[in-house]
Subunit: 431 residues, 2 copies
């Protein structure tokens, strides 16, 4: 499959990166192709809060004239407006911070720029990366939510506006919008990507990750963000690689998956026949969704102390409700919840003795109709609490013709093994 037949703005990041590194593609042309696509589609999708077109074009020319900088040389990228950027305002999706111009880049943004990526713009986040939606629409259907909180990043990558974009997940804010938009989303192992310069909500949960249109692409991004070059090792994505051992894990929330997700599951079971074995989770894990909700509420209420104390009237009703819930949880219950989390994280290790990755639902179903909610992060909560790396794999369509997929979950710290397995599985699911 030659890249020459793919429009530039739809090239996978890893393919574009290879062409850019060999000087067979110019950064300026790729940036222009993305800007053209944005010009064509942004009025409909509304993925961006800020575009930095002139700066991006200048940067692309500079990169074309100089040496190859790194793994992301010449690749345009977008950044959820929860990450500080020194050259574009950062408002966290909240009127409290309208027009705020940070002095420095978030560490993850600076790492991408160091690797040669070109910042094209800031993408829409829900209010303070919580439930109250932004303006972004699902590129597949404008009356459906793109998911959140990393709404603009998922929508922009899906729609061919960008090959790569950064997001964060505290409940389901990477995997859910990836599922609703039909794009690959990657949540690395907790604590492996620096959060410096990203608005903080929860010490236990917040994780920096990103979106792309293939597993190899998010692996490239992951290598830069984690500082672990092994993630992007081409050998992991060799077509002759040994088949991974997949644990089929419907989770305790299975009954809440709708027909679309259950059909995608059945399709995946068939495609993976012989490579997947059913897996029972520890019984106590039926509590993890509740624990995650309580940990998120407790920690968010405290991380957003300035906002709740001094800008209460500028917080949405759903966010105030979450904060009220969080403040009602005692320190004793929170301590119990963190202890339960630590215990479950230890138990999780054993699941990966026999499996390279677990297959699990990403979402209840397709992106719901309506823009007043970003949908339910139900199927992401436990994995986020466990701190495990996750990759969403889009491969099917639901009853409305919107994307459906499943996620693959890896052992803590074994992101390379997960990404290799995800690539293998994704090839089978899409063929």
């Amino acid at each position: 499959m030659s890249a020459t037949f793919t429009p530039l703005h739809l090239l996978d990041a890893w393919q574009a990166a290879a062409l850019l590194a060999r000087r067979e593609l110019k950064a300026i042309d790729l940036v222009r192709a993305c800007l053209d696509r944005i010009a064509e589609r942004e009025a409909q999708v509304q993925a961006f809060v800020q575009l930095g077109a002139d700066t991006a074009l200048a940067k692309a020319r500079e990169l074309d004239a100089g040496p190859v900088r790194g793994l992301l040389h010449g690749l345009p990228f977008g950044v959820k407006d929860l990450f500080d950027t020194f050259d574009l305002p950062t408002a966290y999706g909240s009127p409290i911070y309208a027009g705020r111009q940070p002095q420095a880049d978030a560490a993850a943004v600076a790492l991408c720029r160091e690797a040669g990526a070109v910042l094209l713009g800031k993408t829409v986040t829900t209010e303070l990366a919580n439930m109250f939606p932004g303006v972004t629409r699902n590129p597949h259907h404008p009356e459906h939510t793109p998911g959140g909180s990393s709404s603009g990043s998922a929508a922009a990558v899906t729609d061919g506006m960008l090959p790569l974009a950064l997001g964060t997940q505290t409940a389901g804010s990477l995997i859910r919008p990836a599922a609703f938009c039909g794009v690959v989303g990657y949540k690395p192992s907790h604590n492996r990507v620096p959060r410096a310069g990203v608005k903080s909500l929860s010490e236990t949960l917040d994780t920096v990750g990103g979106f792309a249109r293939s597993v190899r692409d998010v692996a490239l991004l992951g290598a830069v963000l984690t500082g672990d070059a092994r993630l992007a090792d081409p050998a992991a994505f060799d077509e002759q690689a040994a088949a991974p051992r997949i644990g089929l894990c419907r989770t305790f929330e299975w009954a809440q998956a709708d027909d679309d997700t259950q059909q995608a599951w059945a399709q995946a079971e068939m495609a993976l026949a012989g490579h997947g074995t059913h897996l029972a989770l520890p019984a106590s894990w039926s509590e993890l969704v509740r624990v995650q909700k309580e940990v998120q509420a407790f920690e968010t209420a405290r991380s957003l102390s300035h906002e709740r104390l001094r800008h209460r009237d500028q917080l949405s009703a759903p966010l105030l409700a979450l904060i009220t819930d969080g403040l009602a949880i005692s320190g004793e219950i929170h301590a119990h919840n963190l202890q339960a989390t630590a215990g479950a994280r230890q138990q999780a290790q054993a699941l990966f003795d026999q499996h390279d990755a677990l297959l699990a639902p990403s979402s209840v179903g397709e992106a719901p109709r309506g823009l007043d909610s970003t949908g339910d992060p139900l199927f992401c909560r436990s994995w986020t609490l466990l701190g495990l790396p996750c990759v969403h794999l889009p491969f099917a369509r639901g009853h409305n013709g919107l994307p459906v997929g499943l996620q693959l979950v890896g052992a803590y710290g074994a992101d390379q093994r997960l990404l290799a397995a995800a690539h293998w599985v994704h090839q089978r699911l899409r063929s």
Copy 2:
């Protein structure tokens, strides 16, 4: 011991808080007493980068006229200049950020204000909370370092300028300055205090904590910061409380403790006779100091990506050296180090089956002479890596007449148990 014979600026926080809550002491009088002490001593000690005297006086009057707000009602506090404050500039001890005015309070600052504390000023930090010193001097001897990186907070509390101050620890930045200044320093369990709005260096290590002049005082602060009211439960500090079981833990670095620390240790062993038992650490823990150094360097180099990429000429030589070291560590080695950390954190749990807390050295010895270094965090590195809560207890003097003490280390998440044990031990050590 009646409070009426203690000058206001030397009152313990918990005593002042009780008087303030009963309206037997006015916040305005306590704030004035602290400001008077600062006026008298600041030229010598240089603990502050910014004072907010007028705002503090106005706030104190407001508190005196209204209802009792919370656990810290009317107590003046200082904040390391690594925490954002909406009403005072925050420069992280770096020329890169000179004059920077954040829009919001760090979560820890907002939590203290919510509990009724009165912000008096921002205290000196070393450059970006690393090794390059600030201007602060040791209040006990102006030619000796106060330790770092929370230099100003430790010095101000020691010197009676403030009853409470916030700091952070990544290697030894709370316990070491507490030891060198002779004040109680408290590093809570990792991840239990929100870091929102605090300049981030290391996901694995950064911990928010504080200083006061008694264990009960840091417990009061800890209750507010962690949201766990049990930490300040007066029952834990009852004179009739059962004796804690103390593990005497010289650590693998014992040979590097100097005569002053070794004498303080001998003194403590005698004072605790019958309540302490010697404890051997797992053999693999001899590696933890190296692991901590590598984790800190790897993560700091990436968290400070914006600074190293765009403001290299404004970083000190020692910080650039640490960053260079960090960038030379491969992702593979870092992954091994984090795995070793997780393993050691699991092993640490068993140490507390038989012990409520471990006694260990805090520092090599007294504060070294000279202001071009803040001293060696050697004896703090392993405990920070393990994420365990620590309290420094000052109780002795070294050969130069400067303070010497030891730290007590608790089980992860068992901060209340640690603080109760620390109170008990401190009473014995000081009597």
